[in-house]
Amino acid sequence: MADISVHIGDLHLKNPVAAASGCFGYGTEYEDFIDLGKLGAIFVKGITGSKREGNPSPRMVETSSGMLNSVGLQNKGIDYFISDIYPEIQHYNTHIIVNVSGSTIEEYVMVAEKLNDLEKIPAIELNISCPNVKEGGMMFGTHCPSAIEVTTAVRKVYHKTLIVKLSPNVTSISEFARAVEGAGADAVSLINTLLGMAIDAETQEPVLATVTGGLSGPAIKPVALRMVWEVYNSVKIPVIGIGGIMNATDAIEFMLAGATAVQIGTANFIDPRVTVKVINGIEDYLVKKDITDVNDLVGALKIPGQL
């Protein structure tokens, strides 16, 4: 059987398939459907310094082959996570990676620092790309000096694997990838949602209470693939591919474009077993293609006419 384990920095994943932040709760929500121990990793939902209520309702609207959400980082804060959630999930037989958000650099640093000490959290993902909060969030991900500053500050205090999640709402995502690589990130993950909007022509009002929201799902896959390929060609650190993955073929496309691992978000809502199906599908593909190591797929895209 093919070897499907991969490395993100020092972190060893049993396979390249992870659940994306904000789409998988703390994992518990999926325990009825799948064996969480089969996953490469779980990126739990965005955690901030203190409790956040999130945005008012409606927070979601379906769009063509996708959805807009404006959840807005609803969570009970890092202390509650450490005291009440971590004890419940630390037994998972997979890596739990915490997605860290904040409005200020201090908030990011504070959360990262506290997570340093949690033995079963081997990595964090800095979410500098959330389009659904008024302050901070995407600002850090669309202003390069801020991205550098927050990454540098967190790098100073956080000693395990540091992944920075990039925003697609920028002119050059590889510029940001290079910047956070320089600031000490061990890996980059991309893409977060594209900033979008929906309008109800009947009521003549925006559908979301926050007017705009983040677009996810297969609609964004072509953009995500392109960005992964661009970033893969710009940095040396591993790239984690995200955006519209619905099945194993999609995941393989991301790996060919340069992703060492992938995250699956929206697809979990439609099929809560999709992550496990994708893992199986990747194994089948490797067997069919006679590939013994999944890492051979990473960036293996063949451009006709190029050697």
Binding site: G22, C23, F24, G25, E29, Y30, D32, F33, K45, E53, G54, N55, P56, S57, P58, R59, M60, V61, E62, T63, S64, S65, G66, M67, N69, V71, Q74, G217, P218, T266, N268, F269, I270, D271, P272, R273
Partner: protein, 258 residues
């Protein structure tokens, strides 16, 4: 109850009226216990514009025949496609989801439904009767043509009806029905499901009468099982989620959106 994801076979698609139909779904294994108020998430296949699943309350369950019933109103593309499904076709469901209605303290309970909001009240009526309670139904419909399975509801308790145009029952809104004026101390619980405005009026009425009231809410749902946090409902306890903390809420806990 463990949540499941399974294919069901459509064994009947019964058109109730111009807008509503009932799907009878049979799984190939024993149905788990499904409580009144719980819902399912249905995947709509072969539909260009229905990317996410569609939530529907469980209308009724027949454990002996292993059949689950959904009462569905056609409102958009997803429900239209479901309305056209034929016997033998397959539907993928995630179920059972959400919390459920609670048992009343006293004997008599009033179940107030508007339009397709009567859906969860069928299973609730059945259960209340099984629990030796006495459900009374008060339903509002736009007109006679939109009435839903009144004979079946009558099997569990008396049914009072209001229609907008007076084509059957009393004319006017369900909340203006004379039955409500006659209510004395014997009603120990009010359950309601229907349009928001109706539920708010019912909740207000119940509060005035000092009767506990439970409402089954809707919200836009991406997952239906607590993973996406999209179905936010403001409550006195902060923002809760309709798919896991609800769909049934005690109306005193709700901060209604206007």
């Amino acid at each position: 109850m463990k949540k499941q994801i399974h294919d069901f076979q459509i064994i009947a698609n019964r058109r109730v009226n111009e807008e509503y139909f009932v799907l009878s779904l049979s799984g190939n294994r024993q149905l788990p216990e499904i409580k009144p108020g719980q819902f399912v998430q249905v995947r709509v296949d072969n539909a260009p514009n229905t990317f996410l699943r569609r939530p529907f309350s469980v209308y009724d369950v027949d454990y002996k025949k292993n059949i689950l019933y959904l009462l569905i109103q056609i409102v958009g593309e997803g429900t239209r496609i479901l309305s056209e499904l034929k016997k033998g076709e397959i539907l993928n469901l995630i179920y059972p989801l959400g919390n459920s209605f609670s048992l009343p303290d006293g004997e008599k309970a009033l179940l107030i439904g508007g339009g397709v909001g009567v859906a969860p009240l069928m299973l609730l009526g059945r259960w209340l009767k099984e629990q030796k309670k006495e459900p009374v139904f008060l339903f509002g419909f736009r007109n006679y043509g939109l009435l839903v399975d009144i004979d079946l509801f009558t099997g569990f308790g008396k049914v009072h009806i209001a229609t907008d145009d007076g084509s059957t029952g009393e004319k006017g809104l369900v909340t203006q029905h004379s039955f409500l004026r006659k209510v004395t101390g014997d009603i120990s619980m009010v359950y309601t499901c229907g349009p928001d405005v109706m539920m708010k009026a019912v909740a207000l009425w119940a509060e005035k009468k000092d009767i506990p009231c439970e409402a089954s809410l809707e919200n836009t749902m991406a997952c239906g099982f607590g993973a996406c946090l999209c179905c936010a409902q403001e409550t006195v306890h902060g923002i809760l989620h309709v798919c896991t903390d609800g769909p049934v809420f005690n109306t005193k806990e709700l901060i209604w959106q206007i």
